[in-house]
Structures are given as structure tokens and as C-alpha cells.
Symmetry: C2
Subunit: 651 residues, 2 copies
């Protein structure tokens, strides 16, 4: 029978027994030391002070200054050659930033000029503080959408524009404050909880919501719902068919097609990036000329109207830190802050990886946060590094943050001298620009990839998507994050635990269900738990292990193999344990004893071993004959001893 | 140098290379099959239908009936001998249940008689449905406290006693409904989230809050705060010193000392369980006689007053499923339901483990839930298995649920004939009974044990304790649960990842920091990740691994060892992966290639392997030369190939 040969299996059983390796307790560490290590790994996993080690004091000061102002790092080596590249890319993104700035401000229900203000000051601040060389800073579609939709819930931008503007700046201040705090307190990992799946679903949903909002400008409807979600917007569109204006629709359709074709060309051939980069500005100029030439604003095409000339007025006196809307500002600041941070950091990391330099997440958060705090007192609303513009910036050959300065100066010139030119720009073109920009946020290949790899992630994605479309932007996001966290908790509550078997001819033990050639060893039940053992799963693990033992005993009754003598728990994958976990082992020990079997632990890790030892005053778990370094050694040693015993006792 | 000898290390390098074991993909399973397995492990980990397998149909019906009504299991074998034991224990717990029932009802701000009603019907229901043989069912202190404190926040029991009673019964109904639903939907694992540490802190805090409330009766104060937390109660006590009544204080002190001494005696010598079991009834009788004899109720000692005779009146017409207080009833029902369930299940499991029988958690939840739903329509409030009375029941020799029936009949007799006797029972004695009962909930040795084993659990305990004392019962609990879950999330966000070294003379690889004798292998970086890799930790792991590589390169520059060729990731402990985790591997692969090193995976588990394979269209990870079953084999094979190469190329 295969059993008997199996029983013999570990070929050099006694030899191995001779050189069994002891499980040693981990080197002693005091609670303070442990706390220090834990805190370091939690808050300083990137070890930012590493470069300071062993440097002379002057060098340390220079490094510190360079850490705070990355401009000091690359500034001294800045050359004319780099400047040439930066000026081209800077002008390119400026041509994109002007129409997008105006459009996104409208998306946030703010005056269009605020979008330009926001493209002037924040890039300057970022150029000094930021560590990414490719980030193009300015207002972005999703943050604009969230800001607008959250604030309009309480204050109407048409009835009370002054208060709305105050709230927008206050929200921007709080967004910046939260961003900077997250960075300063080194809590940057909080944005990791927005998983890729969540973001893909969220952004696709937001893109659709944003596009639907543009139906107002694209169809020329004047009475439009204030709500954001799919159902009221569609009903608003189809209940106001009388208001549709064919001139607007025709114009919108033509420019939308133009913009989408330009986008398509640039996507196909990245060298032609300037086609899609220049298209919005071309559309604005062309449409403005058309309106001006044909006096189209008298024929049902709505235009932006007169814009104020001049640079950003100060706005710190508009920040409101009291009153009934404070809660709303804080909440909106938190949501927009985290969302725009996620976008900014993700963009920064993407291009840093492409060009092989490093972006320090927490440092970037402080930079973006300070940028928004400064912005909030200079009439800017929430800004961050924008996906689309950063890509254009990168493709246009940006070398340093100087491209942001070039863009900023261009915007300044626009603000000072060119504002009258925008008076006749039709709103429909701004709508078309927004739609063509957000279409890129719907990433169907990525969604397909997620479906292929992980069905649960796909469900999370769908929740974010439909939550955003049918409920609200922030609720959709909250639901998706909640489900993601719930999934992690379920993985802990129902940890994987498998039965191991021996791969014949080796001392390797692997999952019986995965490695079909692996075999059970009579008298042994070898189990592996693959999660930290804690209060959330100790009851389950207890039941699961007892079930295995009962199943073994049931087979035993059918005389399939000899009675259970050892339950070996492979603990290599149990990374942590708490008091409930420790109790589990005590209970298991007791149960085993009642059944006449022995509980053997294999390779408990440092922390786990220490806690078991502390709780084990009687020295039950930590006896050398219950503790082995590998499953192979445990099986070899234990089967040798039982064989010895049975030959002595002649059972 | 030790390095060169180390390099040679795997002794039978080539031999092992010959018999390298392939990592095989796991056996194919469809998404439906996987979902089925996952659902089964989540909701039916105890496999309740196992016993039905392979049985004839009649037997299946009998088993099903026995499953629903455990009384059918033990009923047929019930004997006179068992009944003798049960009658003794039943009478013992009845003598405890009468004074405690009256006291706990007062704790919940309900009429004392409701406490007796609640000790009559629910035990009968439980005797038929419940599977524990030791549980003594009735009202308990903590659920009474929570019920009272939550309802008094909105409705005053003195100004509007009718509404208060209606809300209490409605809350009981919802508590029962939630309990039964948790069991029926097999969501019983939710109570596992109340960890032992949380419960110890929570119960100690609740015991103190309950005891403080008793200062009202113990000091004879008439104007007492309605609030529960420490500060208002203490201020209420010391601002009303004029109301203190020395007669009450003297009486309370004497009986409290008597009860505590009795408790102490029974704790020291478990055989004298009847001393503490009988003490409350003795106190009630003695104090009632004293009051009656000395007409003490005319001298400042407040008494219960006239109690209505007769059995439970029906109360289903008092349940309110509409109106402004519905939300409160549902919330209070949820909290009291879960808390009392936790107590009931824990008590049941404790005694089942002692007597070596099994209690099915989900089944018990349905029993307790139905018991409360029936109770809510027969004038009972929330009941469950009580810690203290079940211990007495067990010590008194209870064999089956018949002891609950005996207790119930005794209470019935009391309700029918003995109610006038309680008219002169002083409230101060009820206060003393409560204090002496809840003192046992403060478990200092357990707290000390937790401190010794796990400092973080201790913090969770303190949060629960101080939260209950200073904020409120439900907030303290919520804070503690929140922190426990946060800890689990932190373990995932910052998973343990260690560098492995070879234990000389073996092919075992273990944590370099734990096993001091283990040695690095030049050219190799061997890392082990000990957590599922997902969105919450992929960024961290990426940074952590890159830091290791940089540290290796820094050492390399100091010429300590040869250049990095292989990064081996030991994946045995990575139990799951999601799309973000898959992206991590792609990124790592790219980074390695830029550095001229190779990424090697060791023993990826079934699910992880499958997902990596699916995402890996180019076949990058799954090439046999990047995939090994053990670290030993990987190192042996790879160092053999590089040696071969280097001798060929003569580098």
C-alpha cells in the first residue's frame, strides 16, 4: 500500500533528526523599541532622513533646504537648453490651460475668470515647492465637479454668487489644509485606500456626470436642473425640448467632432501631441470669431460675456471660519482635497516612473496643500496636477517645473491684456472642450483588464460607477471605498487555511488541493494558516481546524489510515497575533489533549512566538518537541519518536 | 572571507538543480465554483448539513427536527436522575433570578414586575429551541443598562411611563429580530468583531457606570441625574448631600458587605456556590422583614411599593412600528441585541467547552432571537444567557434546559401568589444586589494578562473602558470596535516584509533579524511578504522593496559584495492579491530590468498565481526560470546558471 511507503518517506529520517534546527526566540526588544520600529514603518516607510546620515552639518542644511524647496536642487544646474524645452511645453500647456480653466470654473459653477486665476498663482507656488518635473498644475474636471455639486446642495450660485464664492475659497483653504496636514503628519497612505478599481469606476462615472451637465450648453437649454445624477438630468433634458436651439447644437456638434478627432490623432501618434493640445484654443478662437462675425449671440447662442481684466484680487478676507456653512466647507474640502490629491500624486508618480526619478508622496502632499492654501487667499479654487495637461506637458518635452512658470506668465499676460477677446466666446464651445477632455477618463480597456483578473475588484468598480451616476459623486466614492475595506476585512475574518501534503521524494509540504501529487502522511494533520490570527478570525479558525480533525477521524473510522497523533500548524504565514489568537492556541491545545493528539507548531515568527511564550507560563507550546523550524523536520522527528515508542511498547 | 564560503553554500547544488520541482498552476475552477467555495467558507464554515449526508430520508427529517428543536435530541433520554439535578439547580437560579430580575428592570428604568415577567416566558422558549444545557436565561445587567440609557435619551420613564414601556417592548422586538436574522443569514461572525479586549474594557466600564447609578438607591438620593457618564453622576451625588439618608446608607452598607462576603466565599470554594446564589434572596427577605417590622419606610427608606399580581399580560398591541421614535427603537434594538447576543453566545460556548459538547453559534442566535421576539409580545424586555446565573446553574449541577423550566415555574408561582411580599422590599437592597453582581464584571487579572501579551489590545481595552465611563455606553463600544478594525487595516496597510537569509548547512531560509546565524547570499536579495497584496499596501511594498534594493546597492558600492542579480520574492504567505497587487509586480519587474536584476517568485499560492498568469500576457512572470517552489531550489538553480554563464563569458 502507498501508505506504508509514504510513512517511510523522509528518506534520511534519522540523519535529519540528528540535525534538527531549533526554533529560537527572537532577539529581545523593549516595548519602546518595538513601538519605534512600528511607527517608523507606518509613518516613514521611505526613510526620508536616510540621505542626511553621516553628512557634515553644512551639507545637512543644504540638503534640508533642497528637501523643502526642490527648486534649489535643479535650479543651479538650469541651462538655456533646458529652458528652450520648457518654454515650448509651457506655451503648449498654456494654450490648453486657458480654455480648460474657463470651462472647469463653469463646471464648478464659479465665474470663468476664477479658472484663469487658478491657473496663474498655484503653478508658481508648485514650481518652488513641488518635486515633480512633469506635473502641469491647475484646475481639474473632477475636483471642479465635486466642489460645485457639494456646494450647490446648500447655496445657489445664481441667487447668492457672493456667498458661493466665499464658500468655494473656504473649501479650497480646507482642502489645502487637509492635504498639507496629511503630508505633514505622514498620513499619505490614506489615499492608498482609493484603489485603482475604485478610481477607474469613479472617474468613468464622473466623466459621464460631467458630460451630462454639458448638455445644458451643448443643447442651449436655459432652464436646467441643479441636480447632478443621471435621472434628473435626463428628465430635465427631455422636458425642455422646446428650449433646444439648433444653432447651438450645430455649433457644439461641429466643434465636438473637431476636438474628438484632434484627440484621436494625438492618441494614435504621440508625436502629434500638439494637435489635441492646440485644438481647444483653436476652437475658442474660431468660435469667438464666428460669433463676433455673425452676431450669433443675437441668434440664441449664449456667450461668456464681459470678463474683468487684471490679476488675482486677494481673497483672504473672503474665507469664512464660522457660520452655518462651516461644516459644508470642511466636508467639501476634505472630499475635494483627497480626490485632487489622489490625482496629483498618481500623475506625479506615473511620470516620475517613466523618467526614473522619485516623487516623495508626503512631500508632494505638503506642496499641493500649501499651493491650495495660498490659492485660497488669492482668488483661486482647488487645483492639482492634471492628468491630461501633464501628459501634454511631458510629450511637449518639459524638463523642469519652469514649464509651469512659463504657463503661469502666459496666463498673466492673458489676464492683463487679452480678457476682452473672450467676451464673445460661446458657452457651447466650453461644453465641447469639457466633454472632449473628460471622455479620456472613461478607461474601458482598464475595466476589461480588471474584469479578467479580479471579479471582486470589478464589482467595486461598478459600485463606484453606478453610485456616482445614480446617487451622488461623494456617496458613490464612499460606497466603493467601504466595499473595498469590507473585502479586506472579510479576508481577515475568513482567512485561507489549507491542508498540506508531502511532495513525494522531498521534504517540501504544499497545499493538497493545489499540488495533486502531494500526499497525506498517516497520523499527521498538517495545516497552514495564512493570515494574522486575531479576534476577527479566531472563532472561525477554531471551528475550521476542529472540522478537519473530525473529518480525519471520520476517515479513521473507515480504517483508511492510522489514528491521529499530531496536528502540525505551519505558522510561517501568521504575521501577527493578538490575545484572542493566543487563546485559540490554548483552546486547541486542550482539545487536542482530549483527543489524545499533540499540537505542534512550525516556524512561528518573531512577534507571534514572543506572545505565545509570554502567555504560556506552563511552557506548553514552547517545549522543543512541539516546536520545529520546518514541517519536514517536524514530521521526520516526530515519526521517528513514535516509531521508537511503538517498537518499545509493542503495541 | 565568509562570503565566498557562503556563496558555495547549497552543498549539493547541482544534484538539487537536477530535481527542481515545478510550480504548477492550480487546478482549474470556474468563477461559479470559486464563488461557491468562498460563500460556503464565509457563511457555512461549520458545515451544518454534514450530518445529513448519506442518511435515509426519514432519518433526515428526524435530524432536521432535532436541529430546530434540540429538546427532541435530549428529551427522549430524559430520566428521573437528571430531573433531580435539574430541580436543584432550577430552584437555585430562581432564588437568584427573582431579586436580580426586579433589580435589573429598575436598572432599565422599567417597572420591577417586567423583570419577573422576563424571567418567566423567555426561559420556556429557550428550553425548547436552545442548544446549551447550562445557560440560565433572563434579563442581564449590561443589556438592561444600555436599553435604559438609550431610551431615556428621548423619553422620560417618569413623565411618560406608558410610552417608555412601549418603546422598551419595541426595542426588544427589534433586538430579537436582529438576533434571529443574524443567525438565519449566518452572519454570526459579526459578533466576533467584539474582541475579548474590547469586551473586558467595555464590561468593566459598564460595571462602574451601573454601580454609580446605584448610588441613587444606596445613598437614598431622590433628585438624581438622568445621565449615565461619570462626571454628571458624581456631581449629582455631591451636589445633593443634603438628601443623603443615614438609615439608607447604613442598611445598604450592611447588605452590600454581606453580599460581597458571600460572593467571596463562593469564589474561594466553588462547592459553596449556594452561599452567593442564596444571598440576594436572603437579603431581600431579611430587609423586607426589617422594613416591615420597624416601619422603616416612614423613616426615609424608599421601598418598591405595591406590585401587580398575575402572569405576563400580552403586549403585542404595544409594539410600535411607526412614529417618531421608530429610529430610536431600531438603533437601541441593534445595540442591545448584539451586546446581549455576545454575552449569550460567549456563555454558551464557555460551558459547552467545559462539558465537551457543541453549541452552534448561528443556531443559538436564532433561538435567542425568537425568544426575544416572543418575549416582546408577552411583556418581557431583552433577555439572554446571563454570565453569573449560568455559572451558578452549572455549579448547582444543571444537566439540561429543564433547569430553566423549573426556574420559570418557580417565577410563575411567585408572580401568581407571592407578589404582595415584595411590597416592603427597600430599593437600597436592590442597589446592593446589582453592585455585588456587576463587581464580577471587572476582570483585573484578564486586563493584566492582556497588558502582558499585547499592548495594543490593552489600549483598545482602555478605550472601551474610558469611552463607556466618560462618553456613553454605545460610543465607548463603537470607539473600541473602530480601533480594533483600524488595527487590522494597519496590519494590511503596513504588512510585515522581511529579508531572508540562509541558515548555514541547510536549504532553510529565515528572517535575518530573527535568526542571527542566517546569512545573506551575495548577488541575491531574498524577501518575504507576509500579507495579501492589495490596493492598501501595494504602494508601500513597492517603496519598501526599492529601499532594500537601494540599501543593497549602497553596500555594493562599498564593495562588500557582488552586484545584485536576483530579487527573490517568497510568496508563501501572500494569501490573496488584487489588481493593484498585480500592477505592483509589473512595476517591480520593470524596475528590476532597469537595474539589470531579475525578479524571481517562489511558491505563489493558487489564487495569486492564477491572477498573475491572467495579467501576464507576455508570459513574463510565469517563465520557469523565474518561478520556483522553494527558496532553496531557486538559489541553487540560479547560482548554478550564473556560475555557468560567468565561466562561459569569463567576466
Amino acid at each position: 500500500m502507498s501508505n506504508s511507503s509514504n510513512m517511510q518517506h523522509p528518506p534520511t529520517c534519522l540523519e535529519i533528526t540528528m540535525e534538527v534546527h531549533r526554533v529560537v526566540p527572537p532577539p529581545h526588544k523593549s516595548t519602546i523599541q518595538k513601538l519605534k520600529t512600528r511607527l517608523k514603518e507606518t509613518f516613514f516607510p521611505d526613510d526620508p532622513l536616510r540621505q542626511f546620515k553621516g553628512q557634515p552639518t553644512t551639507k545637512k542644511w543644504i540638503l534640508a533646504a533642497q528637501y523643502i524647496f526642490p527648486v534649489l536642487q535643479w535650479g543651479p544646474n538650469y541651462s538655456l537648453k533646458l529652458f528652450k524645452s520648457d518654454i515650448v511645453s509651457g506655451l503648449t500647456i498654456a494654450s490648453l490651460a486657458i480654455p480648460q480653466g474657463i470651462s472647469y470654473a463653469k463646471l464648478a459653477s464659479l465665474p470663468p475668470i476664477v479658472g484663469l486665476y487658478s491657473s496663474f498663482v498655484p503653478p508658481l507656488v508648485y514650481a518652488v515647492l513641488g518635486s515633480s518635473r512633469d506635473l502641469a498644475v491647475g484646475p481639474v474636471s473632477i475636483a471642479s465637479l465635486i466642489l460645485g455639486s457639494m456646494l450647490t446642495q446648500e447655496v445657489s450660485p445664481t441667487n447668492d454668487p457672493g456667498l458661493f464664492l466665499q464658500l468655494a475659497f473656504t473649501t479650497t483653504f480646507f482642502a489645502g489644509f487637509f492635504q498639507a496636514s496629511l503630508g505633514f503628519l505622514r498620513l499619505g497612505f490614506i489615499i492608498d485606500f482609493l484603489s485603482k478599481a475604485t478610481l477607474i469606476g469613479f472617474m468613468a462615472g464622473a466623466a459621464i456626470i460631467v458630460s451630462l451637465q454639458q448638455l445644458k450648453s451643448l443643447l442651449g437649454i436655459t432652464h436646467f436642473t441643479k441636480q447632478m445624477s443621471l435621472v434628473p438630468v435626463m428628465s430635465s433634458v427631455f422636458h425642455n425640448t422646446k428650449e433646444w436651439s439648433w444653432q447651438t447644437i450645430l455649433m457644439g456638434f461641429c466643434f465636438l467632432v473637431f476636438l474628438l478627432v484632434a484627440r484621436h490623432v494625438s492618441m494614435r501618434r504621440p508625436k502629434l501631441f500638439w494637435v489635441s493640445a492646440g485644438a481647444p484654443l483653436v476652437s475658442v478662437i474660431l468660435s469667438t470669431l464666428l460669433v463676433f462675425a455673425f452676431k450669433a449671440h443675437h441668434h440664441g447662442i449664449s456667450i461668456i460675456g464681459k470678463l474683468q481684466e487684471g490679476l488675482n484680487p486677494p481673497s483672504w478676507n473672503m474665507l469664512q471660519f464660522h457660520g452655518s456653512h462651516l461644516g459644508l466647507s470642511i466636508k467639501a474640502g476634505l472630499v475635494t482635497g483627497i480626490i485632487s490629491l489622489t490625482e496629483g500624486i498618481a500623475v506625479g508618480r506615473t511620470f516620475a516612473a517613466l523618467k526614473n526619478y522619485k516623487v516623495d508622496g508626503n512631500k508632494e502632499m505638503m506642496a499641493i496643500g500649501l499651493m491650495n492654501m495660498v490659492g485660497s487667499s488669492t482668488s483661486c479654487y482647488v487645483t492639482t496636477g492634471a492628468f491630461s495637461r501633464s501628459a501634454v506637458n511631458h510629450n511637449a518635452g518639459a524638463k523642469t517645473a519652469v514649464s509651469n512658470i512659463v504657463m503661469s506668465v502666459t496666463i498673466m499676460v492673458t489676464l492683463l491684456f487679452l480678457m476682452p477677446l473672450f467676451q464673445y466666446t460661446p458657452n457651447v464651445v466650453l461644453g465641447a472642450i469639457i466633454v472632449s477632455a473628460v471622455v479620456g477618463l472613461i478607461d474601458i480597456p482598464a475595466a476589461h483588464h480588471i474584469w479578467k483578473i479580479d471579479k471582486f475588484d470589478f464589482i467595486v468598480m461598478l459600485c463606484a460607477f453606478f453610485g456616482v451616476i445614480f446617487i451622488s459623486v461623494q456617496d458613490g466614492l464612499a460606497i466603493a471605498v467601504g466595499i473595498s475595506i469590507f473585502k479586506i476585512l472579510m479576508q481577515i475574518t475568513r482567512p485561507k487555511a489549507v491542508m498540506l501534503g508531502n511532495i513525494p521524494g522531498t521534504d517540501i509540504y504544499r497545499d493538497l488541493h493545489h499540488y495533486k501529487e502531494s500526499m497525506k502522511i498517516p497520523g499527521f494533520l498538517i495545516l497552514s494558516v495564512e493570515a494574522p490570527i486575531n479576534f476577527a478570525n479566531s472563532t472561525y479558525l477554531n471551528e475550521r481546524i476542529l472540522r478537519w480533525i473530525e473529518e480525519y477521524e471520520a476517515e479513521e473510522d473507515l480504517k483508511k489510515h492510522s489514528s491521529l497523533q499530531f496536528v502540525i500548524l505551519e505558522m510561517s504565514a501568521v504575521s501577527a497575533i493578538d490575545t484572542s489568537g493566543v487563546s485559540l492556541f490554548k483552546e486547541l491545545k486542550k482539545t487536542m489533549e482530549k483527543k489524545g493528539a499533540k499540537l505542534v507548531l512550525v516556524n512561528p515568527l518573531g512577534e507571534v512566538m514572543e506572545k505565545l511564550q509570554k502567555s504560556d507560563e506552563a511552557g506548553d507550546f514552547m517545549r522543543p518537541d512541539c516546536l520545529f523550524l520546518t514541517v519536514g523536520e517536524a514530521v521526520a522527528t516526530l515519526s521517528a519518536t513514535t516509531k521508537g515508542q511503538s517498537s518499545n511498547h509493542v503495541v
